[in-house]
Subunit: 91 residues, 7 copies
């Protein structure tokens, strides 16, 4: 079995919602640590680096939050995964 423990995302968003609202919406998903860095600000958009870490990160829920807030996931830049072996034939 595999759990995702960290993703690093490149995201483009309009000025609204704010960075804070987006970060909190991601934190609402679970027991995650979220860091959002603003890499670039243009007239209408902001390019963000978003890092979400946790014991079991739900990547699809993250994608949904980003999309629902009107932002676009440009790329997944890093993914950390932990394999968990339960018993020899548990998988």
């Amino acid at each position: 079995m595999s759990v995702v423990t960290r993703v690093l995302l490149d995201v483009l968003k309009p000025h609204d919602p704010s960075v804070l609202d987006l970060a909190c919406a991601l934190g609402n998903l679970g027991d995650y640590r979220v860091r959002v860095r603003v890499l670039e600000m243009d007239k209408k958009t902001e390019t963000l680096e978003i890092e979400v870490a946790g014991a079991d990160v739900d990547f699809e829920a993250i994608q949904t939050v980003i999309r629902d807030l009107g932002a676009a996931l440009h790329s997944v830049d890093e993914v950390d995964v932990s394999g968990v072996t339960l018993a020899p034939d548990a998988e």
Copy 2:
């Protein structure tokens, strides 16, 4: 539920109030660690990097303090958020 644990802000302020007064006004908001760095000094203004960290940082109160002291919040450069799950249906 989400709590903000750290913000990194780009702020422009006139020479008065002093960096020290601004830092202390932010520290007065709660059990925060505040670091203010002066990035640039011009004739009438100073560009500051302000970092406020704590277990539960009240971003709106920070905005109010900055505005009330006559300074301007140019941008939010980084936000750290911790998600807190209480119980499966606690949110």
Copy 3:
């Protein structure tokens, strides 16, 4: 006796499967920590740096997963191995 404790691989993959799927497929192999970094994105392919670490990493299984998912192992860039001596004549 030798066990492989970490490999660092340079891998080329088509856009599908996703980075996440590839990382999880590698995590499914055992009690491993997997980190995938996207180094370059082209129209049809992505160049990845994949690090797999664990107490006893099965390199052949990793190769099989990479191949089965339609990706190509370009090179093995680093290998960590631990020698384990059991008894003077155990080897």
Copy 4:
């Protein structure tokens, strides 16, 4: 309530008093750790970076010591402050 826990200062001083005398005069103010770095030496003056850290740094006293020794505080480059909340209505 806020306490200042560290200041980083840019100071210009004549050759006399010595760096050592200035550092000790600042240390005499309280239970502080003081570091003075000489950044530049000119014919008549020295540019110093002075860092004073402690549990509760008295910035006004520092200013007074610097002025009384014939040196000039050019700028406050960094300030660290800790907010201390005693009780909900303690402030």
Copy 5:
């Protein structure tokens, strides 16, 4: 008495044996941590940086393994040694 605790070697090898086989062959020598980095790949050869660390590294055995696998030890770049004094006249 002296024991070698770490060597850093510059090695040239043909593509066969693989980096993994060479690393494991070195790990088989004892209770060592072996790290092999591929510094350069040419048509017929690979330039490797090999680090072998352990409580008592047998350098001659390492040389033999490298030679027996058809690789060439170009240079010894770093050597760590621990002196061990047993008793005033034990040496």
Copy 6:
């Protein structure tokens, strides 16, 4: 009260006494850790960076040792001082 806990000095010395003799002469002054780095070697002189650290470093004694050995203290580059408050009126 203030105690000096570290000084970083720029010293010029003739080739004789040796770096080792100078370092040991400074170590003889007290329970200090002394590090001497040779920054530059000329025909007749050596430029040294000397760091002396301890719980209570006697700077005048250091100056005397340097002078007595025929070396010249060019500049004091850094000074660390600890303020020690004993009792409210202890100073």
Copy 7:
């Protein structure tokens, strides 16, 4: 009293003895940690950086070993010394 706890030396040696032999000869002197780095290889000579650390490093013995093995001590680049005060009048 002063003890030398670390020296960093610049040494030139012919190809024979090997780096390993030189390192072990230095380790034989006492309870030292020895690190030898090859900085440059020429046709007939190698330039080495040799670091010897220990609780009480015998610099003269190191010089003797280097000389006896046909190598030349070019310069002493760093020396660490610890001052040890036994009793007020113990020195």
